[in-house]
């Protein structure tokens, strides 16, 4: 039998790894046919919504629900007193703290959930909320973590013993009632010694402002308790549906097999949808109480003001170097503002996430990090907004410290990076703060980036611009933003990564159908990443069936294997690996079937694109499609019928994607308006599965980086009022504000990942924020600027110019 098509055509037909396969999800998304939580409509469904606190810190004197219960359509109003008998007025957080589900005697942040109104429709619920009367006694408000640590005002009386002593928290001793933890990494004394004896030390304090992931779809759920069969179904915007199932079981007492959690289409997550929120708990309770399905959907203000914020890190750094610029030590201290409850979403052993990746891409022999978590009267959260756990903070810190050191040394910042990069031959590299970087080739990426943008030409142009500015010929300065980042993603090895005791492995289960198509189910859940497209490509290459013949299904805990979900760029590093490994199990069995059909020994056949061929006789083969059919219709001695596999993958290490970014910006010193003239992004995410999707991810991540660097902020006034609660003031860039992005790549596969892939969804955000920020700061460097805090919105840029005396 002769092949009708070439081997190359057979490869193309699979649409496997490396192919810019069009996204299979887009047909429904671009036609308005997606199925999001708010699209779910069930018979008799009720709506729940919250009475929220107008105060940031207050004692609750009374809650009167009588008038609300008189509002037509209102069925019930839940308060903490109603939840207390069930033990549900508080809930555990992912960070080992507990959080009020409904205000239990006091409120700790503006917008906090005080009562939950259940009604026949949204309008009645909103009317009911207006009719609930709450009497508050205002308490002193603390919005600054440094003041909090000095204050006599105790925010969390529940965390102070009756004798006034302060019991240990989930992460060890606490030194003040408003203190949550101290967490350290590295070696304190040797680092301090290096810094004390160094010839050059640069010091800087920087505030990474509070911001918020802003998925287009807000958080929400539909809870439906079937009292006949005792089963609870919970649809929701969950980035980790299995973990939610376990949490719901643990706090409600409903056995896990009686809970089905479904994440339908999700309109973006970016970390906002990792945690458990009071809305979920109240909806479940309301459904149990009423026997009817109950829907809860946040509006935009609810989302911005109350569900998981990101960042709010006050960072102080010291970096030591030789006069030639070789870095000898790094110290970092963080005061972390966690808000009223510690609801950070980090692996249990890492209360400051992977902040200890803050030595960045550099060979720094000695380092020390300490982080103090602090309570304030702000919303809880502290999630990883489009990054792995606290990695944006770490990369921002080191990429600013490098710039500050370059200023101190009067040295070019690109060259300073180059002489300190970890060298290719040093990988696997163990950093001073403990991580083992898997692979990298930083010098190649850096040189490629600088050459592509003509870095020297840019610096010459910038120097001329400064001359022109001083001569009064222009009012625009030019900034060249550099950043070189190393991410740490793919959490993670079960030996050190868990959430609520759940190891952070992930999974894939594959069923091959008799006619040679397949379904694969995973423990992750796409929120726009394109998993249905890319995971099918991984499988296509692994099992030789076309990606178009493979359905990818996620998000239903009744059908998908257990997994820890999608965030921290972990889907490809962990579930992608599980997919490849499960595919290899399929292939191993297929090899035995092929050998039987071809009447040769197992070892005499080999895999070739979409078939097994007899070694040395390529005209003798069985396609995977033929093998699939044989698996179901032939009695093969010693082999079970069927062709299925499941793999649970516990990664041996994290993956460490990296990249080199350059931004060229013109800044109008009179108005503070920045214009991004050019943005070049080189990403190395290891093996590339779908270049088109990678490019899309880079565009999206850079846009969110632009937002955060140039204006996106959750700001509070001194009374704890949120000043940026709508999209008028919370900066969400549109196509208008976004520049053209140039993308580029190098490929340094991960040595420990089955297909060498590292993950890319978050890299552009992690690398982008310091790049945009560095561009702004670089423009003012010739006039004496060392550091200014983000966000660089118009008035803050103007202020920098003003303080440097540039307004004459």
């Amino acid at each position: 039998m002769k092949d009708e098509i070439t081997r190359e055509e057979r490869v193309d037909n699979l649409k496997g790894m490396g192919c810019s396969r069009k996204r299979v999800e887009d047909a429904r998304f671009t036609q308005g046919k997606g199925n999001y939580v708010d699209d779910i409509k069930l018979d008799g469904m009720l709506f729940g919504d919250f009475v929220r606190s107008p105060y940031a810190h207050a004692r609750i004197k009374s809650i009167d629900t009588a008038a609300a219960l008189e509002v037509p359509g209102v069925l019930a109003v839940l308060t903490a007193a109603d939840l207390e008998p069930l033990g549900l007025h508080w809930m555990p957080t992912l960070a080992g703290d507990k959080q009020m589900v409904l205000a239990d005697g006091k409120v700790l942040f503006q917008g906090q959930e005080v009562a939950y109104v259940v009604a026949e429709d949204r309008y009645a619920a909103a009317d009911g909320i207006e009719a609930v009367e709450v009497e508050y006694d205002e308490l002193p408000v603390i919005v600054n973590p440094f003041e909090s640590l000095k204050s006599d005002v105790v925010l969390r009386e529940d965390l102070v013993a009756e004798d006034g002593s302060i019991p240990d928290g989930a992460h060890g001793p606490r030194k003040h009632p408003n203190h949550i933890f101290t967490w350290e990494a590295g070696d304190k004394d040797p680092t301090e010694e290096v810094i004390a004896n160094a010839e050059v030390v640069a010091t800087e304090s920087m505030y990474y402002h509070r911001t918020h992931p802003c998925p287009l779809e807000t958080c929400g759920c539909v809870a439906s308790m079937d009292k006949v069969n005792g089963k609870l179904t919970l649809w929701g915007t969950f980035q980790a549906p299995h973990a939610i199932r376990t949490v719901v079981s643990l706090i409600s007492g409903i056995e896990e097999h009686n809970i089905r959690v479904i994440s339908p289409d999700i309109g973006g997550g970016f970390g906002n949808k990792v945690g458990a929120y009071p809305g979920y708990v109240c909806s479940v309770v309301a459904s149990i109480v009423t026997g009817k399905p109950v829907k809860w959907i946040e509006d935009r203000m609810d989302n911005l003001m109350t569900t998981a914020f990101a960042r709010d890190y006050h960072m102080t750094g010291k970096i030591a170097a030789t006069p030639e610029g070789k870095i000898t030590g790094l110290q970092c201290h963080v005061t972390a503002d966690h808000g009223g409850f510690d609801a950070c979403a980090d692996p249990t052993k890492f209360p400051a996430g992977f902040m200890n990746i803050c030595t960045g891409s550099y060979d720094i022999p000695t380092a020390h990090l300490s982080v103090d978590g602090v309570y304030t009267n702000k919303a809880p959260g502290g999630v990883s907004y489009r990054c792995s756990f606290r990695v944006t903070e770490a990369v921002y810190f080191i990429e600013r410290m490098i710039e500050v050191l370059a200023i101190k040394l009067d040295m070019d910042a690109a060259e300073l990076r180059r002489i300190n990069f970890i060298k290719k031959e040093q990988f696997p590299y163990t950093a001073a703060l403990g991580w083992e970087y898997d692979s990298g080739d930083y010098h190649t990426a850096w040189d490629k980036a600088l050459k592509t943008v003509d870095y020297e030409g840019l610096r010459a142009e910038q120097a001329q611009r400064v001359e022109d500015f001083k001569a009064g010929k222009t009012r625009k300065l030019m900034g060249i933003g550099l950043s070189f980042f190393t991410e740490i993603v793919g959490a993670g090895p079960v030996k050190n990564c868990d959430i609520l005791g759940l190891g952070m492995f992930d999974s894939c289960e594959i069923r091959i159908h008799p006619t040679g198509s397949a379904i694969a189910r995973l423990g992750t859940i796409s929120q726009g990443q394109g998993h249905a497209t890319t995971f099918a490509q991984i499988l296509a290459s692994e099992i030789g069936l076309p990606a178009d013949s493979i359905t990818i299904e996620e998000g239903d805990t009744d059908t998908a294997p257990y997994g820890l979900g999608t965030y921290g760029s972990r889907s490809t590093p962990v579930a992608g690996a599980a997919t490849a490994m499960a595919g290899r199990k399929i292939r191993a069995k297929a090899q035995m079937i092929a050998a039987y059909l071809l009447e040769v020994h197992d070892n005499d056949v080999e895999f070739d694109v979409d078939r097994f061929v007899v070694k040395g006789a390529p005209e003798k083969f069985k396609t995977m499609k033929e093998i699939a059919f044989a698996a179901y219709n032939q009695a093969i001695p010693g082999i079970e019928p069927g062709l299925e596999a499941v793999s649970y993958y516990d990664p041996p290490n994290m993956t460490y994607p990296f990249g080199a970014y350059v931004c060229v910006m013109d800044i109008d010193v009179d108005t503070g308006v920045p214009e991004i003239r050019r943005f070049y992004a080189l990403d190395d995410c290891g093996t590339r599965i779908n270049p088109m999707i990678i490019e899309g991810q880079v565009h999206g991540g850079l846009t969110e980086a632009l937002a955060v660097a140039l204006g996106q902020e959750i700001a509070y006034d001194d009374m704890g009022n949120v000043k940026t609660g709508t999209l008028m003031d919370f900066f969400l860039p549109t196509a208008w504000e976004v520049p053209n992005y140039e993308t580029d790549f190098t490929v340094t596969p991960s040595p420990h990942h089955p297909i060498g892939a590292k993950g890319v969804g978050e890299s552009p955000h992690v690398g982008g924020v310091p790049c945009f920020s560095n561009a702004v700061q670089d423009a003012f460097r010739p006039f004496g600027n060392t550091h200014t805090n983000m966000p660089h919105d118009h008035w803050r840029i103007w202020r920098t110019a003003n303080e440097l005396g540039l307004h004459g």
Binding site: Y123, A126, D127, V673, M728, T734, W736, W795
Partner: protein
């Protein structure tokens, strides 16, 4: 973001509108494009038990360019202004300003009448109409009356229009000379950090007439007669620009908000006005 219950009316003529207004007084509001009123209702900051939609009322959607003046019906949208060639020829500043309002989706719904009548100091059209010395026509049960745009605004959301009156049209004397609408904003869809509307008539090398109004720098739009006068009779040189800016700064009264503190706003107002005057002068 769920409004309280309200009655919805969609009368076919202005008489129908006025009778509902007369019946319900303060409890009734008319709505044109709804881009200001509906969000306020959804935030429950505006309580409107009786909402009167003007969409079906005829006769308010025309743009008429005459020999001396332009008449723009209250229901004309910003998109209509952008698309109208005759209007763009006669008063190009209208199109330049309309293109800086919100985004295309909003401009398809947002109307000139709603923009000027709402009294929101952030809106762009009020300052623009003051610059152009427009006259607003309002109608009530006692008949029509005309109110100059420069006398219309009393405070934020407070205007010379009575609650029972409906703004039906804007009439603008045909503008002369060079024009510019300059606006600084943080992003698409934002109100101005500072905006300036400028019309200048040049005679030889000298400014014969000028009109300057500023947006979102006070609780009303600010027509600055002093700034305008500072340019007249000059060659619009640097000294004249400085004098106009200084005069304008005497007339505005910005407040701190998320766009920035007062010092920043004053500075930017000056920069924006300089640029607007320079561009208008170059076109005069």
């Amino acid at each position: 973001m769920i409004p309280a219950a309200f009655e919805y009316y969609r009368p076919k003529d202005i008489a129908g509108v006025l009778s509902i207004l007369e019946e319900h007084g303060d409890d009734a509001r008319v709505m044109a494009g709804g881009h200001s009123l509906i969000p306020m209702m959804k935030l429950r900051m505006a309580d409107v038990p009786h909402l009167i939609d003007l969409q079906d009322v005829g006769g308010m959607s025309d743009i008429t360019v005459g020999g001396d003046s332009i008449r723009i019906g209250a229901m004309v949208t910003q998109a209509d202004i952008i698309d109208h060639e005759g209007l763009t020829t006669a008063a190009p500043i209208l199109r330049e300003a309309a293109l800086q309002i919100a985004d295309p989706q909003v401009r398809y719904m947002g109307t000139v009448g709603g923009n000027v009548a709402n009294g929101d100091p952030g809106n762009d059209m009020p300052g623009l109409m003051q610059c152009l010395d427009a006259v607003f026509t309002v109608i009530g049960t006692d008949g029509e009356r005309d109110i100059p745009a420069r006398d219309f605004y009393e405070a934020a959301y407070m205007t010379a229009r009575e609650d029972e009156e409906v703004l039906t049209a804007v009439t603008i004397p045909l503008p002369k000379g060079g024009w510019a609408y300059e606006k600084q904003k943080r992003k698409i869809g934002d109100y101005a950090t500072a905006a300036a509307a400028v019309q200048i008539v040049k005679d030889g090398g000298t400014c014969a007439a000028a009109s300057i109004a500023m947006t979102n720098l006070s609780d009303t739009p600010v027509y600055s007669e002093a700034a305008s006068n500072a340019l007249v009779g000059t060659a619009v040189d640097d000294a004249a620009l400085g004098a106009a800016v200084a005069a304008m700064l005497g007339d505005i009264d910005p407040t701190e908000d998320n766009r920035g503190p007062v010092a920043f706003k004053n500075h930017v107002a000056g920069v924006i006005l300089r640029r607007a005057i320079a561009r208008a002068w170059s076109r005069a």
